[in-house]
């Protein structure tokens, strides 16, 4: 009940007013959280890291590989939700940007003495960011359907480069990626934690989880900061934003670069998990799947991007299993997945048009506004 009133008390200089967590605007919880954004977010990362370890250790190798798949979808979707949800730019080209990251990773790993994995990932991020800056510079001048069209061209055109440069990029067959082997300390650490054998799959799942945590930590920092606020302002009203001193073009390009960097890292993780970078993996379908994930989860929400990606990864498997259990044969059960997926989409758009996280947030905001109005009239 108190935060509106604290905010409303004496004007400037009141430390309590200044320190109230208003950028996180919606917090009314009574759990004392650290005031520093860094500490708060590190705490969240720690909790999520523990949860990830537990999840990866109680599940079998097959689920481990599914979780690795989830990690690269979620990394790319996290970047896309920042671009589309916070800055209002649509991109149908993120699948192609993932391809850039994947091929970069594949090429670096094919060296005789490959660089350490973190450096290779960093290279993938940098290369994809550069491509993203180019695309973003063009995109910042376009809106809505025109932007969708331009990025669509990217999605369709870029994988074609692999066919053009058969020698280095492997053409239609794609580029075999030598997944790096797990270091010795990893096996010992896993043995110490859970006693499970440390398979190659498990190692890749951990790499994916670490990359995911780092990405979401950095994205959450941006979202909570002035950067995120400025992106949202540009999205809501570009004229007013420009009058407030915001250079629209640069901020749009920045959003595109950040988002492309995530797609690049997602592509890099994909390359080592799938052990292949091939044009067929980066079609328009991938770009659309990412968009679907963030819309289902709730635009602009990182948690939503994660939930949407999880749906993308687990729903087909789940329906196929249910289908088999219900007595369908293999083919029929597999055909069930796209059908159920479609139904989920339609149902979500009817009952939760703002996505799962978005709809819950809207409900909550509506309730809070009602309470505030009731309080005002009671005053």
């Amino acid at each position: 009940m108190s935060d509106l009133q604290t905010q409303g008390q004496p004007p400037a200089g009141n430390p309590a007013t200044a320190a109230a967590p208003a950028s996180t605007s919606s917090r009314t919880s009574r759990i004392p959280l650290p005031e520093s954004t860094l500490l708060r977010h590190l705490l969240a990362v720690l909790v999520c890291a523990v949860a990830a370890v537990v999840l990866l250790e109680i599940t079998d190798p097959f689920r481990n590989s599914q979780l690795a798949t989830l990690s690269y979808y979620a990394i790319a979707a996290g970047g896309l939700t920042v671009l589309t949800g916070l800055n209002g730019q649509i991109s149908l080209g993120h699948g192609a940007l993932m391809a850039v990251g994947a091929y970069t990773t594949g090429l670096f790993l094919s060296a005789d003495e490959p660089l350490p994995l973190p450096l290779i990932f960093l290279a993938a991020v940098v290369v994809t960011s550069l491509v993203g800056a180019l695309v973003g510079a063009a995109a910042s001048r376009l809106h809505g359907p025109y932007l969708a069209g331009a990025t669509l061209a990217l999605a369709v055109g870029l994988p074609g480069l692999a066919l053009k440069f058969k020698e280095t990029l492997g053409g239609d067959q794609g580029l075999r990626v030598r997944a790096p082997r797990a270091p010795d300390w990893f096996g010992e650490a896993i043995k110490a934690v859970s006693g499970n054998p440390a398979s190659a799959t498990k190692w890749l799942a951990y790499v994916g989880a670490i990359a995911l945590l780092i990405t979401y930590f950095l994205l959450a920092n941006l979202v909570r900061s002035r950067i995120g606020r400025t992106w949202r302002a540009v999205r809501d009203n570009d004229v007013a934003a420009e009058l407030a001193g915001i250079r629209l073009g640069s901020w749009r390009v920045l959003a595109f670069v950040v988002s492309a960097a995530c797609a690049g890292l997602g592509g890099a993780v994909l390359a080592i998990v799938v052990r292949l970078a091939a044009p067929s993996a980066f079609t328009l379908v991938l770009s659309l799947a990412l968009l679907t994930a963030i819309v289902l989860g709730g635009l602009g929400s990182l948690l939503g991007a994660l939930i949407g990606s999880a749906l993308l990864v687990f729903l087909p498997q789940l329906t196929t299993d249910l289908g088999s259990a219900a007595g369908l044969d293999g083919t029929e059960a597999a055909q069930l997945a796209p059908f159920v997926y479609g139904v989920v989409l339609v149902v979500a758009m009817i009952f939760a048009p703002a996505g799962f996280v978005g709809t819950i947030r809207l409900r909550w905001l509506a309730r809070r506004a009602k309470r505030a109005i009731a309080r005002e009239s009671g005053r």
Binding site: A12, S25, L243, G245
Partner: protein
């Protein structure tokens, strides 16, 4: 602003208009609909580029600058209507207004460095103070869509004021306000003039006449009168422009007022 002309296609919106806003003065800009008031505003804040003429502010040439560059030079503007960011809370809206005072960069935000937190605290303090100045601090955590129109207008004004501009452009700040709210607004504008120059476009003639030091009258893109409020009220060309005919100059305050009303009726 000297000899500014703007044409859209073949239509001349402004033709060789000159206007000087003195430091610390409130300058009114009036004229019938289609007179070019909004175009002149758009030129002054960089949304529209003048075809010819020159715009100078503190010895700087402004004609070729973008709105964001002008804003960083200390020229703030409110929009006709409200123009708030619907997805941002009231406080966040005002914090955006303080954009030009933000110091922390991308890297400190990316890694959530203390520098970024400190910057945010300062912006928040500034924004809260600006809201408190206008008596809107109770609404800090609300979203603009859930607030009554007059409150939204106050928030929009706070967003312009929080940047401590040197020149404030107010585009119809009184539209949609009740009588007493308009009086408060008038008093507020008078107090502002000590801190900054104000250029005001407004249809409510009594407000313009009570707060402005000087007034410029436009009609069909041309400047037809400029001077103190008394001089302008006594100018027959002004009454003619408003009522379309020459009338007894002695009545003009009342006539102007009714002219203003009929004009609003036209707009509605």
């Amino acid at each position: 602003m000297t000899d500014v002309s703007v044409a859209f296609g073949g239509v001349t919106a402004l033709s060789e208009v000159s206007l000087v806003v003195e430091p610390g003065q409130v300058h009114g800009l009036i004229g019938p609909n289609g007179a070019g008031k909004t175009t002149l505003f758009n030129v002054a804040c960089g949304i529209v580029r003048a075809d010819s003429g020159s715009i100078t502010w503190r010895d700087r040439q402004l004609r070729r600058l973008r709105p964001d560059q002008l804003a960083r030079l200390g020229i703030a503007r409110t929009l006709q209507g409200v123009g708030l960011f619907a997805g941002l809370t009231v406080l966040e809206n005002v914090m955006i207004g303080a954009h030009r005072h933000a110091r922390a960069g991308f890297a400190s935000a990316l890694f959530a460095l203390p520098r970024s937190d400190k910057d945010e605290r300062e912006l928040r303090t500034r924004a809260t103070a600006a809201l408190a100045d206008l008596g809107a601090e109770h609404y800090a955590d609300r979203y603009p869509g859930s607030l009554p129109y007059p409150v939204q207008k106050r928030v929009a004004l706070a967003r312009a004021l929080v940047s401590s501009p040197d020149l404030l452009l107010l585009d119809e700040p009184a539209s949609g306000l009740a009588e007493d709210e308009m009086r408060e607004l008038g008093e507020l504008i008078r107090t502002l003039s000590g801190r900054m120059s104000v250029l005001l476009v407004e249809h409510h003639m009594d407000l313009v006449m009570s707060v402005c030091d000087r007034v410029t009258v436009l009609d069909s893109g041309r400047l037809i009168a400029s001077g103190t409020t008394e001089e302008v009220q006594a100018d027959p060309a002004v009454t003619a422009a408003y009522l379309g005919e020459d009338v007894d100059v002695a009545h003009d305050a009342a006539e102007l007022h009714s002219g203003d009303h009929s004009e609003r009726a036209h707009r509605a």
